[in-house]
């Protein structure tokens, strides 16, 4: 059964939280238990790993871009250069407590396989992604007749790394076929604020600009 986070962020907080961290990363970090072993897939410049380290988490990262990896390693983070699509299969079962895919799902070639590996490698998986079902995106396609541009999705269609967009509704369906149980789900609105009210899924799918899911393997 789905439970929603009780430790909501207040509406007054903007897209960056008190420590200067991105709110979506704070939401992800809040789902991770203290002292856990974590693999951050697509860790970028290591912002989430750093945040987790301040919370006593044993974090590792995979990052595709060479610049990102080298920046992370130079910061003392345990990050390897690798590709979510091809390198997750090298990790043994149950190697981590949490495997995180933050804002990267839509850029993978085989999202279902990636999610299945995450659930195999970790006890839990945390996935955050931009919701393609958001009303603004729907409006741009419906009235504008063009691929949407938003602050979160700034690329033109011909140069975007994002090849597998999905809505919250689509992602829930992926969870079903990939054998994932949804333990928590959080939607962030256009201002990066957590949508705190209990709402039906169609509401989240329409008004949530980003979503964060905590998943575990269906037993």
């Amino acid at each position: 059964m789905l439970t929603r986070l009780s430790h909501d962020l207040t509406m007054a907080e903007a897209a960056r939280g008190p420590g200067g961290s991105r709110v979506d990363l704070l939401v992800v970090a809040d789902m991770v238990e203290r002292g856990a072993r974590v693999l951050d897939v697509g860790c970028g410049d290591g912002e989430l790993l750093r945040l987790l380290e301040t919370r006593g988490v044993d974090g590792r990262g995979i990052e595709l871009s060479r610049e990102g990896v080298n920046e992370c390693v130079a910061k003392g983070l345990a990050v390897v250069q690798g590709d979510a699509d091809t390198d997750l299969e090298d990790y043994p079962d149950d190697a981590f407590d949490f495997v995180i895919l933050s804002q990267t799902l839509q850029a993978t070639r085989r999202p279902r396989l990636v999610l299945e590996h995450m659930l195999r490698i970790g006890r839990h998986a945390i996935v955050s992604f931009p919701n393609f079902g958001h009303w603004r995106i729907r409006l741009q396609i419906f009235f504008g007749g063009h691929m949407p541009h938003t602050d979160n999705l700034p690329y033109a269609w011909y140069e975007t790394p994002n090849i597998h967009f999905c809505s919250i509704k689509d992602f829930r369906q992926l969870c079903r076929v990939a054998g994932a149980t949804m333990d928590e789900a959080v939607a962030l609105n256009a201002w990066g604020r957590q949508m705190r009210l209990k709402m039906p899924w169609w509401f989240w799918n329409l008004f949530g600009e980003q979503a964060v899911f905590l998943l575990s393997r269906r037993s």
Binding site: R66, V69, V73, K75, G76, G82, D90, P92, A95
Partner: protein
């Protein structure tokens, strides 16, 4: 090379091997080195250098493992050539491996020719250099000898072990053999085993040495000769593998050496030829031909998986060591795929590992050169580890 060095008498030619211009420890014959070949070798001697000072907790020691043709003179002028140490780019006051903060130890490998027991060392039984009577050694033997040196220095645990190429092999062997003694490991441009192509290159080099009539079946000291030409050719061939097509083209292109037109002869018309000949000649001044055979052999034999039921990861199960694996895009001798194999094995073993591939056209030798990205990564990695070690 100068004619003078060719005519040095035996005592001069083996001086660095027996009485190096560095620190040296001579173990008693009762404390032999157990070799993979199944013999106990003694008396063992290790030539080594240290830089910086050991802290009160004895927790800041860093071991540097040198590559095939390196030695213990990592951060001081070489006693034979007078040239700067081989890792002055990386090691020194304020450098990524900071001798102001760490106690840096660099031993000559066993089998080498600069002060650790090797084929150029004097066999006490005969009073002559060991030559081919020296037992065949492995990377694991080198590491075992280094562990004896650390015991002698009273250092239980190393803050870091770092090295490139054959040095990187030693780093991996250290982490596998003595995980509790290695806090961080930096295998750079390395591999868990020597590839068939690399064994093939080494074989060409060895054949070049052995084909030189002055090699005399390895007894060249006794016979007053020196297989300079063979060793120089071996070095020339090997040196190409340390560079890259792009680097050679950038440095030399097709430019002529001190001439405007080809001479229609087999002189060194091209700059690249002249450069390689120079590399060969200068190498022979400082290196022993038999040592070259032994050390290339040790690299060929290196295969970590072989020691662990064919699975490298078994060598690192539950390792407490933090790893920083580094490769270079243009390295075709120890390509990035080899470093990735190290990373896969470490991941499978659950090790804490960082891995970065550095963009450079300088080939395998990039680890010795001025590579700011390499320095930033090593510095960041070690600083992060320092906090964890509470140095």
């Amino acid at each position: 090379m100068s004619e003078a060095s060719a005519t040095l008498d035996l005592a001069d030619r083996t001086r660095e091997a027996d009485h190096p211009h560095s620190l040296v420890v001579r173990f008693s014959p009762n404390n032999p080195l157990r070799l993979d070949a199944g013999v106990d070798f003694g008396p063992l001697q290790i030539g080594y250098q240290t830089y910086g000072s050991l802290n009160a907790k004895r927790s800041n020691a860093v071991l540097l493992c040198h590559a095939l043709t390196g030695d213990q003179h990592a951060v001081n002028n070489h006693p034979v050539t007078g040239k700067p140490g081989w890792w002055e780019t990386m090691v020194g006051p304020g450098k990524p491996i900071d001798t102001g903060r760490y106690f840096v130890i660099c031993p000559n490998v066993v089998g080498g020719c600069m002060g650790s027991s090797g084929p150029a060392s004097t066999n006490p039984a005969t009073g002559m250099p060991w030559g081919l009577d020296f037992p065949v050694i492995t990377v694991r033997d080198m590491v075992r000898a280094q562990a004896m040196l650390l015991d002698h220095l009273g250092i239980d645990s190393l803050f870091a072990v770092a090295g490139g190429s054959m040095g990187g092999m030693q780093v991996l062997q250290w982490a596998a053999s003595y995980p509790e003694r290695v806090f961080t490991a930096l295998p750079i441009a390395a591999a868990t085993r020597h590839s068939a192509q690399n064994i093939a290159f080494h074989e060409v080099g060895r054949q070049a040495v052995m084909a030189d009539p002055d090699w005399r079946g390895g007894r060249y000291f006794a016979e007053g000769t020196n297989p300079r030409r063979g060793l120089a050719v071996a070095r020339m061939g090997a040196h190409i593998t340390y560079l890259s097509d792009a680097a050679l083209h950038r440095k030399f292109g097709r430019r002529f050496q001190n001439r405007d037109n080809p001479t229609f002869s087999f002189d060194a018309d091209f700059q690249v030829e002249s450069y390689l000949r120079h590399q060969g000649i200068t190498f022979v001044e400082r290196f022993d031909a038999n040592s070259y055979l032994y050390l290339t052999r040790a690299m060929d034999y290196f295969d970590l998986a072989g020691d662990y039921d064919g699975v490298v990861a078994n060598g690192f199960r539950d390792t407490p060591t933090r790893f920083c694996v580094i490769s270079f895009t243009s390295d075709w001798l120890f390509p990035t795929s080899e470093s990735r194999a190290i990373v896969h094995a470490l991941n499978a073993a659950g090790a804490r590992v960082s891995f970065a591939e550095i963009t450079t056209d300088k080939g395998h030798d990039a680890f010795l050169l001025d590579e700011p990205e390499l320095f930033a990564i090593v510095r960041g990695f070690l600083e992060g580890a320092e906090k964890a070690r509470d140095l």
